[in-house]
Symmetry: C3
Subunit: 158 residues, 3 copies
């Protein structure tokens, strides 16, 4: 029997939405689905390395680079962000309840063989380069996403 | 022939997004789909009772409890909220057009046998307890959601 | 063999989210899927003509009409909108990278035979009339959407 397939488009750049995406992805991988997360627009920020990587950029690309969160741990919340207080509160209760923080969920996904894909078109638009993103991810466009999704059992846009 | 299945993850805590979720769910139930709405993160607020329920909470849980809307009727809009003016305007035009307000849509869903599920993991994180949520709902985790969704004809993340 | 089907509910009224919806839709149409975008709530704004159309409206409908963006080109961003600066920056980098702006993506979708559907229930609520929306689109309700989606290979809510 063919494996079940789950594909997620992660468009949003918020900590809580990325958490939901990665919890579903890790769950599906545990149930032996073939899982792909296609990161596009603000969702690319989840894949950024937290260190600054020296790459050549135009003025506009530098501005985008500065304004967007550098990596999963720096993302804000979609609700009750309170200038950064919200994420701190959420992370504190997560720690208390032994829930995995986002960077750990991403690492777990990579270990479980979830395909983490970065959308090359929006990388271009936002001026993000491969060196700035996590190692071991893939690069593709909308055609590759549609190829996976059209055979998918669960397809979500987050 | 097997029944068609529709599953919706309701992640968002806004009145308009919850309305969209419940209108699709009620429509699908009317067409004899087996329908599940899995409420997680801010979507849990749609299931809160509007009265305050006396339960024991930590300081942090009390804070979350106060900051989040208590029940469907108190949720804001995702656009043009204008500090609460938006929801009032929308509710006024809905009344004029005989459109069902959200609390009625939720009641209708329960009467039509839509499975309303509350995500136990985020209940823990946000400090919400069963006594605070509507009667007649179910409690489950991501595994149960994936079980339903992987056989689903229509799967949405809202 | 039957054609594959892709359906998208476009609920959001932001330039970037509408772009994502139309890029996926155009991609799917290019791969010979039968594609439907069902515009509801704030997503209806993508279908508004940019010129003001003289129609009779109540006071409330006039207010909604004024507060919502008139057409795809006037929509804001879901992140980093900066009171309208964000969309200008994005459009500038899109031009540099030869990426299609949203109004062109919509035109392309119409040329490729993507079904652009306007949700009649939310048109009523927001006081939008057929004369104010693009020519050549369809009008339908949630039942028509579910009919398409329940046979769909890719179903997304954006």
């Amino acid at each position: 029997m063919d494996k079940k397939k789950t594909t997620i488009v992660l468009f949003s750049g918020e900590y809580d939405k990325a958490m939901a995406a990665y919890i579903i992805a890790n769950g599906a991988a545990a149930y032996d689905h073939e899982v792909t997360i296609f990161h596009t627009f603000w969702g690319l920020n989840a894949l950024r390395k937290d260190a600054q990587v020296p790459v050549k950029k135009t003025f506009m690309e530098k501005m985008f680079g500065k304004m967007m969160p550098r990596g999963a741990d720096k993302m804000g919340l979609s609700k009750m962000n309170f200038a950064g207080m919200g994420p701190k509160m959420i992370k504190q209760v997560m720690k208390k309840h032994n829930a995995m923080p986002l960077p750990d969920l991403i690492e777990m996904a990579q270990e479980q063989g979830v395909n983490l894909v970065s959308c090359t078109m929006t990388m271009d638009l936002l001026g993000l380069q491969k060196e700035e993103l996590l190692d071991g991810i893939e690069y593709a466009g909308v055609a590759a996403y549609l190829g996976e999704a059209s055979d998918g059992n669960v397809n979500l846009f987050i």
